[in-house]
């Protein structure tokens, strides 16, 4: 059976042509080897989604593996499968506790009415808030350490303070999903690259921020994860 490390390198386009051909000869000859490559690919996708890929592998995954629409579609499918697999269990728990939850909601509703009657004329609005998150460059980020935004109710915008690295102002900043869909783009004129993104533009998932500065050779990349805590 082919070595797992070599298979990972193959999928990330990091093997020599000789190594690639040797692996291909193996999976053309034996279906078990083909399945093994497929299983390693699935592990790679899961590792990426779980933030377990180290800096260089993660970058390679994004720039090489996710280059094709098929692979981006595959990543989206695995993400949906992971999300879908988690839902039925939660739903079962919700149904189990439904009578108790209904009673609790009723009590809370009564308390809310009492509270409102005690404070006539006072308006309670959800507090608007802006979250600030510092994003280090992908190349220096540690394994499993993806900066994460928790989109709680009331959060209206996210300020992303990007590590400056080698870039110089003015900055052009692009936010896209890891599948390649552009979500937001803008400019930052200040000395440090900071951008504000409306929370409404973000949905749970993994994102890549690309920062291009004046006269740069290529964009600097940052990883970002958005999660939505269940209420």
């Amino acid at each position: 059976m082919p070595d797992e490390a070599v298979i990972r390198q193959y999928l990330l386009g990091e093997t020599s042509e000789e190594e690639a051909q040797a692996l291909e000869r193996a999976y053309f000859a034996k279906e078990e080897a083909l399945d093994e490559v497929g299983a390693v690919e699935a592990d790679l996708l899961e590792d990426y989604l779980a933030g377990r890929l180290a800096g260089s592998s993660r970058q390679r995954f994004e720039t090489h593996y996710l280059r094709t629409p098929e692979h981006r579609r595959r990543l989206a499918m695995v993400r949906s499968l992971r999300a879908g697999a988690a839902t039925p269990l939660r739903m079962r728990k919700v149904l189990y506790f439904f009578p108790l939850a209904a009673a609790a909601i009723l009590v809370l509703a009564v308390l809310a009415v009492v509270w409102a009657l005690r404070l006539p004329g006072e308006t309670h609005l959800p507090q608007a808030s802006v979250l600030t998150l510092r994003l280090p460059l992908v190349a220096v980020r540690g394994e499993g350490d993806i900066p994460t935004v928790h989109l709680r109710p009331g959060v209206q915008a996210i300020d992303l303070a990007l590590e400056r690295g080698q870039a110089a102002p003015p900055y052009a900043i692009l936010l896209r999903t890891v599948e390649g869909r552009e979500v937001w783009q803008g400019r930052s004129q200040g000395e440090l690259p900071v951008i504000r993104i409306p929370a409404a533009r973000l949905s749970p998932g993994d994102y890549v921020v690309e920062l291009s500065g004046e006269g740069d050779a290529g964009p600097q990349r940052y990883a970002l994860r958005v999660v939505q805590p269940r209420e």
């Binding site: 193959y10 999928l11 386009g13 051909q21 291909e24 000869r25 999976y27 053309f28 000859a29 279906e31 078990e32 083909l34 399945d35 093994e36 490559v37 497929g38 299983a39 690919e41 699935a42 899961e46 779980a50 377990r52 090489h64 280059r67 094709t68 629409p69 098929e70 692979h71 579609r73 595959r74 989206a76 499918m77 695995v78 949906s80 499968l81 992971r82 879908g84 697999a85 988690a86 039925p88 269990l89 896209r176 390649g180 869909r181 552009e182 979500v183």
Partner: protein
């Protein structure tokens, strides 16, 4: 593009004298070719695989081939070079795809999610349960243990479980591909063949 009948028949006969076995060998070879082009980064792996099979069928009329899959691999590498040369000319078009209007993209993503739901519903119940249970094991320390427990429950070795899930994922992906080709109003996909 479909291979010419004579070459195609010859290819089937070379894969296995028994017609039933030849058909499954052909499906296996095509799957291998699709995977090869996919992992090598071709943008249309299925088309490239069919092109390879057509050339292979033609070659079998001209030369004596001892190892058909190995020969197919050689042809596939040539096709890959041609495909990659063509794709490099269209690289900028891929960039255009990335800046498509957000609303349209969101609608497409919603559609894909619906397709996934339909594709999962099209799987036999046991297969669907296995696939979802596999992913329900999560990411933490319990993942390995959870998958070992799942393998025991299904009387499979951990490797056999991975392979089975891998094939189920392939089936869902094939279904998604056909759904995408159908458009947003595609119906329920029923998977042919046995439970894998």
């Amino acid at each position: 593009m479909k291979p010419q009948p004579s070459g195609f028949d010859r290819l089937l006969a070379r894969l296995d004298p028994d017609p039933g076995c030849a058909a499954s060998e052909f499906a296996r070879l095509r799957r291998t070719l699709v995977k090869f082009f996919d992992w090598r980064g071709a943008f249309a792996p299925e088309d490239a695989a069919d092109e390879t099979l057509e050339r292979l069928a033609g070659k079998l009329e001209e030369v004596e081939v001892v190892d058909v899959p190995a020969f197919a691999h050689g042809i596939a590498r040539l096709v890959l070079h041609e495909v990659q040369r063509g794709e490099s000319r269209h690289a900028t078009l891929d960039g255009v795809e990335l800046v498509a209007p957000e609303k349209e993209e969101t609608a497409a993503a919603d559609g894909r999610l619906q397709h996934l739901r339909h594709c999962l519903e099209g799987l036999p119940r046991e297969s669907r349960d296995l696939l979802l249970a596999y992913y329900a094991t999560g990411d933490g320390a319990g993942k390995i243990e959870g998958r070992q427990r799942l393998a025991r429950k299904w009387s499979l070795s951990p490797n056999a479980l991975r392979s089975r899930v891998q094939r189920l994922r392939d089936r869902v992906e094939d279904c998604l591909r056909s759904k995408d080709a159908e458009g947003p109003e595609g119906g329920r996909h029923v998977f042919p063949g046995r439970l894998t």
